[in-house]
Structures are given as structure tokens and as C-alpha cells.
Symmetry: none
Amino acid sequence: MKTILAELLTIGDEILYGQIVDTNSQWMSVELSKIGIKVIRKTSIGDREDEILTAFAEAEKRADIVLITGGLGPTSDDITKPCLAKYFDCELKIHAEALAEVTEFFVSRGREITEINRQQAALPVCCTKITNPIGTAPGMWFEKNGKVFMSMPGVPHEMKRMMTEQVIPKLLQTYKMPTIIHKVIRTVGIGESFLAEKISFWEKSLPRHIGLAYLPSLGEVKLRLTGMGDSAENLQAEIDALSEKLNPFAGEYIYGYGDDPLEVVIGNTLRNKRLTLSVAESCTGGYLSHLITSVPGCSDYFLGSMIPYDYQIKMRQLGVKPETLEKYGAVSEPTIIEMANIVRAKFNTDIGVSTSGIAGPGGATPDKPVGTVWIAYSDKYHTVTKKLQLSKDRGINIRLASAAVLNLIRLSLPK
Amino acid sequence: MKTILAELLTIGDEILYGQIVDTNSQWMSVELSKIGIKVIRKTSIGDREDEILTAFAEAEKRADIVLITGGLGPTSDDITKPCLAKYFDCELKIHAEALAEVTEFFVSRGREITEINRQQAALPVCCTKITNPIGTAPGMWFEKNGKVFMSMPGVPHEMKRMMTEQVIPKLLQTYKMPTIIHKVIRTVGIGESFLAEKISFWEKSLPRHIGLAYLPSLGEVKLRLTGMGDSAENLQAEIDALSEKLNPFAGEYIYGYGDDPLEVVIGNTLRNKRLTLSVAESCTGGYLSHLITSVPGCSDYFLGSMIPYDYQIKMRQLGVKPETLEKYGAVSEPTIIEMANIVRAKFNTDIGVSTSGIAGPGGATPDKPVGTVWIAYSDKYHTVTKKLQLSKDRGINIRLASAAVLNLIRLSLPK
């Protein structure tokens, strides 16, 4: 079966000037891939006729489907519609049903329709009108030489509703689609290149119809398997079996599958095991607690934190022994062990974790350069510590150290 | 003077599949517009040689500068570098300096360099290497027929650092640009449309060669004045005078000018006034402390935080009176006043601030819907409280409430 190829075209100066981030095309990509349509290119151009017509012609050569957003507003800078009329060589004419809809839109809001709004009901006569239930600009569906052009408003919630309710069903009627299955495998605690080496044997064994992508982000690497075929059930079984075969090579780094980030996975584990958590974080300055509390329902297991940023606060408020701080310093294994044990005892939780380090740019000493961070985990069975040597960048160190603590919890929890 | 045109090219299947949102190109558009370069097109394509080579050729025809991000990772799916070598018809060879840099990157982290990483130092011999101080993939600068191609990593913080420190200065050396002066005026505590109404008289008085842009983000609105002309000195004086004239209309909302966010401005004020700060945050869960500690040198004024997430911790660890909690609840004015006063006393700081609210999605009551947040400021002269009614979204509420506390500090500090 031939793969149906799509190109996404975003029209609007505000995208080129960087005044808004284009989130539409990401959302559209996900929705299209779910039904087996492959996006091969995304293009953003300004509100200028020559550029728009050129982009139409280029896209038509490459793709089966061209999905266009933006440039449908009522003001003079929006010219997508006249460009479409010109491109498909047909005149703009008031569409009776569209006029009724746009009139109803204003009447239902107690407002009068102006001439400028009336013109939103003018459509190229060669298009099929797609109703916009929550806005004034209708969508337009064109077919020519077996290719589909679909123009939609750039306002995200209008576009999304139009795609979900009308465009996707119409595409499914128009084309016979292959089945596409994705599986995301989430790893933490290993860099992209090291992971690639560990799993190269497995990677080479993947069949041709199953693709692999590495998706690295700060502190973790996601692996995405993508399979294309006829039977969803067979594909899913095949991908699950391949994912299973990855365990001997990289199982220790895999913390989950799908959309849930590490803080959600750990939160679920703590909830299921009925364990509670407290935090004493110094160099991470609140970011670790923020990750934990970004998860809805975290109050089931997270009780609270201390951020003893200052030396005196470490002693007087948290209760680290002055001798420990004097002898070993704040960034040391004995200090973070005390921090984790004390916060666990004081907050009366099952688990206590702690961080102390040199986030930078200041504060380094010859034996403790910027990026030196100690982290600890404590429960009633054991205490686990780890020394990290991170980067020169304060923001990155804060994020990497926080992710490392989450991973330390994952690895140290009672089985 | 001819306007320099740029095209942005993002390479990576993860963009086409919609697994990540491309925020790089928005950031790059803004930075390029600051120096007078106009972005005419943004294109995203996959990791396939034919598509990449075609996109290079098309972009070269349209633009003076082609800025490429992505596809420089060490794994086999990343092919931007060999494509560049092929396009510019020159071989890939280990670059001695690049090898030293990538080796140092691993050695400084106590790790050995693998062959796969060594290959990151292989560069097309016809390019100028651009150092990546925080990653392993160097940037590559090509010049051909008066056009510039610049390839950068897709990892946002690596790309941004490379652009700011090396690419922008190199572009300014290479091209003659018109003089463009920007001034960013930063406001907090007022929404975009309300601000627009307050300053409409001033906005209408702006001369034609000075443009105004509203740049709203969560919790604040930035105004950017952009002037284009010949004399930097005259332009700067003119823009400064216009910015001065804004004060009668919106002075109370303006907290600063230029690049420094609110947490930096407040940090500088605290340092200058020799005041210290502590935090008791509940519903913001660490994010307020994170904002404060994201600023290098914050240990000059920030001593520490308590995050008494759980009810028991609010009483036993922080010391809020059980009567207060029982009578008024955790999300109440009496409770946050106690929280701010107690943390200030316990941590022995000049200022204490506190948050307590319903971040959502759970936890709401009929009289305290999701988005209800109380915040307080306390110093030895006075205590100031504020009740916020925010959104239905947990992440947005956490961010807006934290920004509101920073603004409360700004407005409440002893004069």
C-alpha cells in the first residue's frame, strides 16, 4: 500500500517574526500519524501572494495532501483565500450556507454582521465548504489531479475542532490507509551514544518495516519504535515482542513506556507501595520539589520539603551537625546523608532524598568544581548516595541533578 | 540598503512526527529580527538525504542566509553533516581542535570517549568550525556564492548559546546591516488588553520609524520598541525619551528594561538594600524557590524555604497554629499570614513570603474553586496579602502564583 504523504503549510507573518510559536503543526502531525498519514514537510511562510502560490505548487509536487492553516481572518493582511481561488483558477462567490452560518454566529452573540464579516462567507466556487462551528472563517477542501488541499483557520481551537470532527473523517473516506503503531520506550541514567552502543545488536535485528528513533532530552533518552503494516493487532504484538527483547541490553535504564515522564512513574510507584516522600534540596533550589509537585495528586505521597540554601539554615533549621559541615563541607557525602536522614525523620516519611552541590557559576573550589553534586536516598533499610559531575551551566545542573534524584529513587526503592 | 533574508531549516523526524514542538525557530526569528535580518521561510523536513539536499538547494535560491538546526547527533539517524559535506562537495575529516574539544567534554565528566563520539569531531573540510561549549556536536559555517549556511545542534540550549555568542556576531561582521535599536520595557501585574487600553494615547503618538510589539507571556507583558535608522545614538535617545513618556500611563506596572526577568530585578534590589528572604510555599510546590534560585549569586539574599505540602507538616514542621488551620483552612488569609511570619522568624530573614492555594485539578471546594490562591509578604514593618483567582490549569496556576509573589515583593519592599 502506498503511504499517503502530507505537507503542512502555515501562513502568517506572526510566525516568521517569532511573535507566536506554531503549535498547530505539532498537533496535526500527531493526529495524522495516528491514521497512517506521513507528514513529510512543514513550511511557514508570510502573507504574500507570490510566496503562497509558489509554496502551493511546491507542496502539490511532493505530497498527496496539503493542509494549510492561517491567513483566513477578515482583515486585509489575510490573503490565503484569494490565493487559493487564483491557484485553483475559480472565482470567489458568497456561499449561501456559509453566509447563513456566519450570520448566525454574530446574531447568536447579539452582534450585527458587518460587510467585512459577510465577506468571510465568500468562497472559491470549486471548493467544498467545511463548517467552522466555533468561528467565522469556514474551511475549504479542494481536490485536483488526485491531490487534496485543505485550508483551515490558524486559531488553534478552531483548527483542532475542524480537523477532529470533519477533516480526519473525510481523509479516512478518501484514502485507504496503512496501519501505523508507535511505541515509546523511556530511559534515564544513560546518554544517547552510550545507549546506542549497548543496544546496537538489538537495533540491527529490527525488521525493515519497524523504524527506531532516538529522542534525547535533558537527563533522559526516549526510544520510539514505529511500525507500518496491515494488521494493528499483529504490529502491536510484534513491537511489544521487540521491546521485550530490549530488556537484556538496556532494561536497567528503562523506567516506562508511553507518555508518562519519570516524576509521574515514580509517583505512581510510591502511591501503589503506599510510601511517602520528603525532600531536603540545596543546590537544586526547589526544582526537584517542583518536578514532584507538578504531578496532579502528588499529595498522596509527597509531604514536603526543606530548602536549606544557607549554611546556617542547614544547621539550625534542618539540623545538620556543625561538626559534619565544618569537617566535610556542605557539598560532601556525610552532609547529604545527614540531610536525607534528617528530613525523613523530621517529616516522618518513608523516604527522604537530598541534594547538595555547586550549581555554578560561583562557589567552586579546586577539589569541587562547578557541576559537582552529591545526592542521597534514605529509607529505613538503607541509604544510597551518588556523586555527579555535571556541566558548567547552572540551569542544566539544576535540571540534571533533579532528574538524577528521581532516578535514584527509582533504583533504590524497596522491592 | 538591501534587507538580508534568512531561511530557517529544521531537520529531524521527531518534528515531523509531532513528538516535539519546534521552539527553536521562534527564538531564532526574534534574535535575527533584532539585528535587522528578515526571516522569509521556515521549513521542517525529515532525516532523509534527498529531502535535505533538495531543501538546501531551494533555500539557497530564496535566502542570503540558511540557518539549519538538528540532525547532528552521534547516532545513525542523524545525517545533516554528511549531507552538508555532499552539498558543498568536500570530504569529512577529523578536525583536530574539534576532537580536542569533544575529548575534553567527556574527560571532564570522567567518561571515556567512544568511537561514535570521536566521529562527532569529523567535519566537512570546507566549513569553519563553530565551537559548542556545552555539547559534543560542533556547529559548521559555510560560505558559497555570497550565501551563508550555518548548521547548529537542535538541542535548544546548545543552539541558543552558539547563536548568541558566535553566530550573531559573525553575521554582523559578514553583512552590512541597518542600525536597529530595540528597547524592551517589562511589565507585570496587568493583562495585554488592559495595558493596551491604558497606553493607547501614547501608542498613537509613536513616530512611523518606531514600531511597537506586545510580547505577552505567563504573568507578564513585555513591550518592545524597535527603531530603524542611521544614527544609533539619535535612535537610542529618541527611544529612551518615548519610553520615559510611558511612565504616566503605565509606570506602576513597569519593573525593568531589557533582558533581566523579575527574579533577577528583585534579587538585585534585595542585594542592594542588604535584605534577606525566605519562603514558605505550599501550592507552588517549589517553583517559586526555583525561580529565585535560578539566579546566580542568589545566596547573597535568599536563605531558604519550607514546602509544607501536607497539612501535618504545616503544623508540626512550619508551626502554623492548629486552630488557624481548623477554623480557616489551609487556603486562607490567616494561614498564609502565619506562614509568612513564621518562616521569616524561623529563618531569621528580613522578608518572608508564602503561598497556599488550590492548584488543581483536585482539592476544590464550593467556595474555593481550582485556581484560588492566597499569597503573603511579611517584613518587620507590615504584612501584605493578596487573593488570586487563576485558571483551571495546574501548571499555569503554579507559574502565575509564583510570578504574583515576586510582584508582591516588588510592590511591598520598604522604600
